[in-house]
């Protein structure tokens, strides 16, 4: 064997070993079981193959914009009040145009003052004057877009936190490229997604606000008690009342609650499920340093007043502030132990910035997934063996070339998947099949061409040379065309289409190596050992 050939052979061996490592890593043992376990830990199977739940949800980004504009309305009200400008501030259409704020009845002489205030306090808005002393404030499109994007990012973080706490292994939570503000959640092994969905969906927006007055048995009573108009900066909120005798919560009541919150869920440091003195489930929480300071200020200046714990715009409990509280608190209410656990979990993971809506839910039972794997793998092996046997039969010794190349191609493809952590899905297997097909094709192209050159009376070495040279042009064209299309599919496709594109590109790259380089090296080493003029077995 000459030096050049030796170097090439060593290169091939190195590639084989590297990609075998990609597939198996360093297995704990070389027994069948150890190898299988190593394989399973390196090659990630998609949900369609191993079972689990696949969800697509949409973040209701308008919620986040609404929250922003609500805060701006509050700030504007305060600013106008301190500047002694009259005017009625409202949001005309929170559902469809959440970015819009309207101010009505501003006296013409205050216009310049209003401009100054908006410019100073609300730089994120565009101010435009309308008919009859009205003004419209529109959130700048770039700011609104930012808010929406942030809402999606924060939702992803929150959902990831919550799912991590549930102990689901290897979840996928990412933005779903398709459509607007969608998130893809994949939960391997979860075949009963009800609880996970519930926990993911709960907004868990916690606020502590001042309870100005109450409780009232119903809305009318509340309005009557306040002379038909709610005091400024207050809202009416629903809550559950304790039944006077049994202590069970069974009726609804209404509280007059201040519009601004003293602290909110963002100020929470921890939240844990526990029990109160009477053994009823409750949630203990503690606040961050900053939140604790604000809470201490608030409780210090409101001793004797009432304080309401508001969860998702519903009053959970109301207590009188006995003394200044720093950073500890407790939420009581009629909870089951499971509810307090879920609630503590969602509070810990932070609030969702906006509501979410489920768009798609696919659950693959684990038994179905493993059935399709077993049958798919069996079918693929039967097909491969048939192809390999035929190649041996049809091309004799050269068939060994093709079979070795095919085998090495699969090793490299699987090794790629192991190295990159890409997942193998059913459409991915389609990519593997196309790869195998094109691998066989490359060999057939080369061999047929060599036979043709031999028929034209060329010597074996020159026939091999010419065969490879001619077939190479075709192989490059077919491979580049298909890789171009795979790259485009990857760029414009999502999920399954991408899985197909990934395995296909890996496979074709591997095939260029195996069917051209490796096969050539084998031919050369055969020719090397041949006597001059001896026929080639092809």
């Amino acid at each position: 064997m000459n030096k050049n050939l030796l170097a090439k052979t060593l290169l091939i061996l190195a590639v084989l070993i590297a990609f075998l490592f990609g597939i198996f890593g360093i297995p704990s043992s070389l027994s069948g079981k150890g190898l299988l376990a190593a394989l399973q830990s390196r090659i990630h199977l998609g949900l369609d193959l191993k079972g689990g739940t696949h969800l697509i949800l949409q973040v209701q980004v308008n919620d986040a914009i609404n929250a922003d504009t609500d805060r701006s309305v509050e700030r504007l009200k305060e600013a106008l009040k301190s500047a002694n400008i009259t005017g009625e501030i409202s949001k005309p259409d929170p559902t469809n145009r959440p970015e819009l704020i309207v101010i009505k009845g501003v006296p013409p002489e205050s216009s310049s003052e209003l401009r100054r205030i908006v410019g100073e306090k609300l730089p994120d808005y565009e101010l435009a004057s309308g008919a009859e002393n009205s003004w419209t404030l529109t959130m700048k499109p770039s700011v609104a877009n930012d808010t929406r994007k942030k809402a999606v990012q924060q939702a992803i973080e929150t959902i990831r936190n919550r799912i991590d706490q549930l102990g689901v292994s290897e979840p996928v939570i990412q933005e779903h490229g398709l459509g607007d503000y969608q998130i893809l959640v994949q939960l391997p092994g979860v075949d009963d997604p009800a609880r996970v969905k519930e926990i993911m969906q709960s907004t868990a927006m916690l606020e502590i606000r001042q309870a100005v007055n109450g409780p009232y048995p119903n809305e009318q009573a509340a309005m009557q008690a306040n002379g038909g108009v709610l005091p400024p900066d207050t809202v009416l909120m629903k809550g559950n009342a304790l039944h006077p005798q049994s202590g069970e919560e069974n009726t609804e009541e209404y509280w007059l609650i201040s519009r601004v919150s003293a602290v909110s869920g963002n100020d929470l440091r921890t939240a844990d499920a526990g029990h109160d003195e009477n053994g009823r489930p409750d949630i203990n929480f503690s606040l961050t340093g900053d939140g604790g300071r604000r809470f201490a200020n608030f409780t210090g200046s409101h001793v004797g007043d009432k304080l309401a714990i508001v969860l998702d715009n519903r009053v959970q409990s109301v207590a009188t502030i006995q003394e200044q509280i720093h950073d500890q608190g407790r939420i009581t209410g009629s909870f089951t132990p499971e509810q307090t656990q879920n609630l503590a979990l969602t509070l810990r993971s932070g609030a969702l910035p906006a509501g979410i809506k489920y768009l798609q839910e696919v659950t693959v039972g684990p038994s179905l997934g493993s059935d399709s794997i077993r049958q798919g793998v069996r079918a693929a092996i039967i097909g491969m063996i048939a192809v390999m046997v035929f190649m041996l039969f049809y091309y004799r010794a050269a068939g060994i070339n093709a079979d070795l190349g095919l085998f090495l191609n699969l090793v490299i493809l699987l090794g790629f998947l192991g190295f990159t952590g890409a997942t193998l899905t059913l459409p991915g297997i389609a990519g593997v099949i196309l790869t195998v097909g094109m691998g066989v094709d490359s060999n057939v192209l080369i061999f047929e061409r060599i036979r043709e050159e031999l028929r034209h009376g060329k010597t074996p070495p020159s026939a091999v040379d010419q065969g490879f040279a001619h077939a190479w042009v075709t192989i490059i064209d077919t491979h580049v065309t298909t890789i171009v299309s795979a790259i485009i599919l990857f760029l414009f496709g999502t999920g399954p289409v991408r899985g197909f594109a990934v395995t296909l590109s890996f496979g074709l790259a591997a095939n260029l190596f195996t069917s051209v380089f490796v096969s050539r090296v084998i031919f050369e080493s055969i020719l090397n050992r041949h006597q001059r003029g001896e026929a080639l077995s092809i």
């Binding site: 059935d371 039967i382 048939a386 389609a430 001619h470 077919t478 485009i488 414009f492």
Partner: protein
């Protein structure tokens, strides 16, 4: 061994047969698409609720249908799925029972309707349709083994064991909690018997797709495919000539339309995996076509004097052995997938079985003849153009005619 040696078939001479054959299949498919079955779309494209239920015994579809009627579900499609011995039933609620406001309502209604079919088990949970999380929660609350501090971890493992045993050893259905004897401690079994009953079915698979996602996915799959065809066209334009790219892409279009037409004729659903198969067959067809084109390009350089039609014929014949071999071998793989791959892969492998046959045919019978037809057309047009310019020049003045002549 060699099967095809020095074949000399006049492929181009048969172009009218090819045209008739392609027209018959594409028109039949298109007629079915437009006037008969339409394009039967899988649930991921059209939206809807699909629930696959496996029963412990051969299910009576009429009973299932009655249960769905009682639950108030309108016209669900109910059919058995896979071989009868699998005892599997597919319940399809379509889009009218699927709203994004309550995505899984249809599924819940189906499960409840089937559970009420079972003998009264009031207040108990369904052992076969509870996940490990539910079992864990229950065991943690009841604490049948009186575990101390690490109860959570132990019950978590136990719940997982139960679920694995049920799904892997018993195909998803336990006849009763007694089946678990020897798998989990006896006190756990008796505790489970208090809280759970075993229904005669298990939900194997659920697919719920809201209307919004379906439309987006449809659009996106179509656009990705079109873009990738355009990409291939540009590459072939760069490597060969524009007409080669056009020929190859037209051949791929031809294959796709015929394959989709087949699915329409057979009323088989085009799911996402079928789309993957169609992408695969586009790859194969393109591959086949390029091999022939490459040979044509090579032969054009070698045989400058021969007419294009002869060169094309010769090239197809020279590559015929390779074409048949490769297609035959890949067909073998795909056929094995179709026969042994199981129900989930059936649609996928069917598309490939059809696609490989059509793809091989189209590179010989559609793409290559297009090159010749284009050249003939151009030659004729050039002739006409000369004739036209001659006649118009004649009207304008004699001098130009002289120049042309």
């Amino acid at each position: 061994m060699e099967l095809f040696r020095n074949t000399n078939i006049d492929f181009l001479g048969k172009k009218w047969y090819f045209l008739a054959f392609s027209l018959i299949f594409s028109v039949a498919g298109l007629l079915s698409i437009f006037f008969w079955h339409g394009i039967p779309l899988g649930v991921e494209f059209r939206g809807g609720t699909l629930v696959y239920v496996k029963f412990s015994q051969t299910p009576n579809l009429d009973h299932v249908r009655q249960a769905m009627d009682r639950a108030g579900l309108k016209n669900p499609r109910i059919q058995s799925f896979g071989p009868v011995s699998d005892n599997e039933v597919l319940i399809d609620l379509g889009l009218q029972e699927t709203s994004e406001a309550a995505l899984d309502r249809g599924k819940t209604t189906i499960i409840q309707a089937l559970q009420t079919q079972n003998p009264a088990n009031e207040g108990k949970q369904d052992l076969n349709n509870s996940g490990a999380a539910t079992l864990e929660q229950y065991l943690l609350q009841k604490d049948p083994m009186h575990l101390g501090t690490d109860a959570a971890a132990q019950y978590h493992a136990l719940a997982q064991t139960i679920e694995d045993f049920r799904n892997k050893q018993r195909g998803g259905i336990l006849a009763s909690a007694d089946d678990l004897r020897g798998v989990v401690p006896a006190e756990v079994i008796s505790s489970l018997q208090e809280g759970f009953y075993a229904s005669d079915f298990v939900v194997r698979n659920v697919e719920i797709v809201g209307p919004q996602v379906g439309g987006q996915l449809r659009h996106q799959a179509l656009m990705a495919t079109l873009y990738s065809l355009a990409g291939m066209l540009v590459y072939l334009w760069f490597r060969f000539e524009l007409i080669y790219g056009v020929g190859a892409v037209v051949a791929c279009f031809h294959d796709t339309i015929i394959t989709i037409g087949f699915f329409s004729l057979l009323n088989k659903e085009i799911s996402l995996t079928v789309i993957a198969a169609i992408l695969t067959l586009i790859g194969y067809s393109m591959n086949d076509t390029i091999v022939v084109f490459d040979r044509i390009r090579e032969n054009i350089k070698l045989l400058r004097r021969e007419p294009l039609a002869d060169i094309v014929n010769k090239s197809i014949n020279q590559t015929l052995s390779r074409t048949i071999l490769t297609s035959g071998l890949t067909f073998l793989t795909v056929l094995s997938l179709y026969l042994f791959g199981g129900e989930v892969l059936r649609g996928f492998s069917l598309a490939l079985v059809i696609g490989i046959l059509i793809g091989t045919y189209s590179s010989i019978a559609v793409a290559a003849p297009m090159l010749v037809a284009y050249q003939d057309w151009r030659a004729r047009r050039a002739g006409e153009a000369v004739a036209r310019s001659v006649s118009s020049a004649r009207n304008k003045g004699r001098e130009k005619v002289k120049v042309k002549a």
